[in-house]
């Protein structure tokens, strides 16, 4: 009987810790909202964030944006749901939800910019080349591209981070319509 209880405890401990590590690796709490390919944690850093969001924040060490400052959206897949692949070319664009400024940058799985020969880690709304209709397209690819080119450095999986600063949608991020977010379309692959 004692042996059985011991076995159950050991297995339970291992599975419990594994589940904890796995849920932290996924990097999202209960209050994360998904809008198309983008996920946003509305309550990151808020005093009433859920325990998963809190634990995630402690482990990653990031300094989240307050709701009054802005919002951060992360995309690890394209619009079709396929994981972003460094061998492919993606076109990101046309529009973002309203904000005084926004930035789009490329990050690795830990949340850091990826080294690339162009030294280009992201675009600001204030520096982007726009079309006649005010829309924009950012080409995310390993090799040089005309227009707004965001280089993919390295061969590892990457993610895109969209940050809105001073945005009226901050308080209701979960309710943003998918059509208001930039689309991520795979153009071609090597």
């Amino acid at each position: 009987m004692l042996v059985k209880a011991l076995i159950a405890c050991v297995i339970g401990l291992v599975v419990g810790l594994w589940a904890t590590a796995a849920s932290l690796r996924s990097g999202r709490g209960f209050d994360a909202a998904t809008i198309g390919a983008w996920t946003v944690s509305e309550k990151a850093g808020a005093p009433d964030a859920d325990p998963y969001t809190r634990a995630n924040l402690e482990r990653s060490g990031e300094i989240p944006l307050a709701a009054g400052e802005g919002l951060q959206f992360i995309a690890r897949t394209d619009d079709s749901g396929a994981t972003l692949d460094p061998r492919c070319v993606y076109l990101v664009g046309h529009k973002t939800p309203p904000a005084r400024y926004w930035t789009l940058s490329l990050i690795d799985r830990q949340g850091f910019p990826v080294e690339n020969p162009a030294g280009r880690y992201g675009f600001r709304s204030s520096e982007i080349v726009r079309g006649a209709d005010g829309g924009f397209v950012i080409a995310v690819s390993a090799s040089a591209h005309s227009g707004n080119w965001l280089p993919i450095g390295g061969k590892d999986r990457f993610a895109l981070a969209l940050r809105l600063y001073d945005s009226p949608v901050s308080a209701t991020a979960g309710a943003i319509d998918k059509a208001a977010m930039p689309r991520i379309v795979r153009e071609s692959c090597l």
Binding site: K4, A5, I7, A8, C9, I11, G12, L13, V14, V15, G16, L17, A19, T20, S23, L24, G45, A46, P47, A49, P51, Y52, R54, A55, L57, E58, R59, S60, G61, E62, I63, P64, L65, A66, A67, G68, E69, Q72, R100, Y101, T103, S105, I107, Q110, G111, F112, P113, V114, E115, Y121, G122, R124, S126, E127, G153, A161, R163, Y165, D166
Partner: protein
Amino acid sequence: MNLKPAAINVLMVGLGAAMVAALVHIVAILVIPLYASRDAFARLSPLGPVNATIVLPQPGPQARLIPFGDPAIASSFCRYDLSAGPLRVKAPADPSGFSSLSFHTRRGSIFYAITDKAATHGMLEALVLTEEQLRALTAKDDEDVPVTDLRIVSATNSGFVVMRSLSEQPSLYPSAESAVRALNCANEAIPE
């Protein structure tokens, strides 16, 4: 028929293991934020003393202290300790671009934030204090003089203030950096 007791044994152990696993998982998730060995405060603390303004390196592949930083944003921070008195925070707000102040507890939750839109005469200013210090201060307030301070109550004695400033162009990053370098944090006398 010997199979049956064996199957029950496995089932019991499995059930027990599942219960222990759930318990371990829940406890671990709840304990991690309290442990706080790798959170932002723990990472920022070794960079300098309390009240000192420290400019963070521009987020990039080499700056691996704080993840999910925006390469377009210059940021600085100061740690505070309210046991030495309320904290006066001053920062110049560049009216042309986006800048903000956010107030974080020791545990990393944000209890207040203001942007450059809240600036008066080009300055963002706030007084961070404990509940007790606020009570002492309001008791001393002159009823005929309106309070002009932005008073923010911190639930914890220690925490940190972050200033962010957005650079509109890559070439303007140095000026955003000099804006956040001007963040000033200083303790005031404890109100009697």
